[in-house]
Symmetry: C2
Subunit: 108 residues, 2 copies
Amino acid sequence: MAEETTEAGTAEKSRTDENVIYVGHKPPMSYVLAVVTQFNVSGSDEVVIKARGRAISTAVDAAEIVRNRFITDAKLKEIKIGTESLTNEDGRTSNVSSIEICLTKKKK
Amino acid sequence: MAEETTEAGTAEKSRTDENVIYVGHKPPMSYVLAVVTQFNVSGSDEVVIKARGRAISTAVDAAEIVRNRFITDAKLKEIKIGTESLTNEDGRTSNVSSIEICLTKKKK
């Protein structure tokens, strides 16, 4: 999400970061568009949708909209849930739940 | 979901409805308590947490709290996501995402 200034595009090729869509507080359709673009324009055969906290339901919405309306041959490869510890400015730690939804599409 | 009038307790043993916790808009801890009770008091070795729409994040929170704090030997057996069509009073249909998180605990 950060450092996308100079060599971001090339440096990220080794990591799978390029295939990861981080879901936040925009409407689900914004992320649907990002996922569909990732599959169709970038030609990825796997896209991971990640979200934390309240955005988890938006992530599920986005994944379902992609599967049901846009890329009907996409499969749910894996769904993981977890907990992340976040420390805020005043040093307090809070736990937040997270989700990772991995969608795959067969190459034609 | 129906027929829990007379012989509910006994009749439901075959069905798994008893092991299903439906998550709504209460705080996650309410559902954590329900899940823990289901494992420890009712002696289930499998509990399914279900939620729709905005409650999906609460369901993930509840599952994570159970796993990390209360029943640390509980395993995530399966996570399913889906879409349900709801028809409201004035006949309009809307789609809502759903999640099912299946937790299992080994018998000691």
